[in-house]
């Protein structure tokens, strides 16, 4: 994946670049807003990592111009500015995610993974989570090369969880998402579906974690690796 990094602090840029390269991505780095804007005009990127406090042209302006041109490239904003109002403002400008400095490397990598996953699901309608691969229109799934036999309900559940990966999905959200597949889904029905999905995901490296009182979280192998660190 090709990623544009717009960050004026060189040591941060250097760290982020190293992190992204470790993840196997190609990184172009620019240190001011004008260059970022120009680069975004000239090339198609899969992801923009944008610092808001850029010289020459403010990060918000870069973002505004990008969206104004109708580009849907995912944007991860990194900023030192905290606070709910700032978060809302940045998301309103068209950012896809928001990370406040300083952040843990693992957190940054997870956000990048989630944003890039969305790209591939938009480009080719396919989702990749570690060894797990989902063909969204075809309702089919594979672990490595081996097909995973899932019912429509189980696939719907996995898809709903996978699309919100890195975020907790509440039971209400799952029930709503599954209404397309099933006219009625009871609480009990959801429990059973999750139980079955878990059994089928065993060995795939991906698992469904219950978050007490909040819902479910699809965990990738990378998350579990992070846990051991």
């Amino acid at each position: 994946m090709r990623i544009l990094l717009a960050e004026d602090d060189l040591s941060i840029a250097d760290g982020i670049r190293a992190s992204l390269r470790r993840g196997g991505h190609a990184v172009d780095h620019v240190a001011d807003g004008g260059l970022a804007d120009a680069a975004l005009r000239d090339h198609d990127y899969d992801l923009l990592v944008l610092d808001l406090g850029l010289p020459v042209l403010d990060g918000s302006e870069v973002l505004h111009r990008l969206r104004h041109r109708g580009k849907s490239v995912p944007v991860l904003v990194v900023t030192a500015r905290d606070g709910l109002a700032e978060r809302i403002r940045v998301l309103d400008l068209g950012a896809d995610d928001y990370l406040v400095k300083p952040f843990a490397g693992a957190e940054f990598e997870a956000r990048v993974r989630a944003l890039l996953r969305r790209v591939s699901s938009q480009g080719k309608p396919e989702l990749k989570l570690g060894r797990l691969r989902l063909d969204l229109p075809g309702h089919r799934a594979w672990v490595d090369q081996a097909p995973l036999e899932l019912t429509a309900r189980e696939f719907g559940l996995l898809e709903a969880l996978a699309l919100r990966v890195e975020r907790v999905t509440s039971r209400a959200q799952l029930i709503e998402a599954l209404c397309d597949w099933d006219q009625e889904l009871t609480d009990n029905g959801l429990d059973i579906a999750i139980h079955r999905l878990r059994r089928k995901l065993r060995g795939s490296g991906t698992s469904v974690r219950t978050i007490r009182g909040l819902g479910y979280l699809l965990e990738e192998p990378a998350d579990q690796a992070g846990e051991q660190a």
Binding site: A18, L214, E219
Partner: protein, 468 residues
Amino acid sequence: MNPPRASRPSLRRRLLAFLAIPMAVLLLLDALLSYGVALTYADRVHDRDLVDDALTLAKLLGSEPGSRLTQQARFLLEYDPDGRDYFSVASSRYGLLAGDGRLQGSLPASASGAAPTLYDTRLDGHGLRAAAVRVAAAHDPGESLTITVAETLHDRHEQAREILLLAIAMQTLLIACVLSLVWFGVGRGLRVLDPLTARLAARSHELTPIDGTDVPQEIRPLTRTIDALFGRLRDMLALHDRFIADAAHQLRTPLAGLSLQVDRALADSPTAAMTEALEHIRQLTRRAARTSSQLLALTRAQTAPLDDVEPQRLDLAKLVPEAVAQRVHEAIRAGVDLGYQGPAQPLYILGEAAGVQDLLDNLIDNAMHYAGRGAIVTVHLRQRGDGGISLAVEDNGPGVPAELLPRLSERFFQVAGNSQGGSGLGLAIVQRIAERHRAEVVYRRGERRGLRVDVHFPPMPPAVAQLG
């Protein structure tokens, strides 16, 4: 320490002193005046009595045959138990007939005719008041008798003194009454300050103007000065907070760089010793990052009182699980089982979303930090009997000794022996934000062990509850 009571200015003492000195002077003047008036009246009465005596005696003598006083008349005249009365009867023809001749000599030359004459004289070293009357002798029209009656001034002075003493006693009593009325009146009058005092006592960190309808006119200059002082203090605190916020912001970028570079170094497979050192650096960076975020949250919590930011109706049943969900990844990485328990129906409070989020974040930080890996942290939300809402964060960690629970909200307070590297700011932030929401923070032991922090939000004011 306060200076001793006596050296402070006192309204009471000032008022009393202000009244007491002029009143004492007035008392003195009044006494002199009373004495003078009493003496004048006593003089008038005694003079009339003297004249009466002289006339009575003259009548008696004038009707007596011969110019000799009868035994009875002499007894009458000479009866003087106090020795203060004098008399004389002198004939124009025979000289002194009876009494004290010395009285005759002092008769003023003008005293003539039948009208009684009153005059002052001296005898035996005493001042005397005398009345003289001249009548024709009954048996001999050619002979005239001069009757003089005199008395010392003692009686009249005595009477005036009695009146004076009475007046002094009365007036002293009056002054005492006035002064004690002032004493109690000042106390009573100052009670008009009680509502204002109570209002100010209820403040914790507010620096808004204190002027209001309960401020008495007389102390408005004082409250205005205090308000001006509050204003300067607010500006100073705002500047101070802005400085902290700027500093914390400035710290974030280098910390982010440090954190990323450490990750990078760790990823480039260094030696075991270096890995250990880098892990330490990573932990320390995380701690510094957390402290800078908390300093920012603290300044946010302090600068704007809730009234300034226009509180909104917040559905905690929606906001709280979302805020908890944002912390799930971090909890998983820290090996903490973070969960939530709350009702499905909306629970509204009047507040500020960012504040509630800061509050909750700090409670979760605190619980995860001190309960440690393997702990269970649960956020509870429920409606209370009084219509208020209780937000609680409970952990099953080691907890806090009961005697230290009340100290938890102090800034920088840390349980001794706890070297896990918290900044000590978290619960102070919680306290500040709770105060701004008029919420009460209660620290207690968790159900089995650990710490449970309850934040009791007050019920919504009915007017707002009906909106929307």
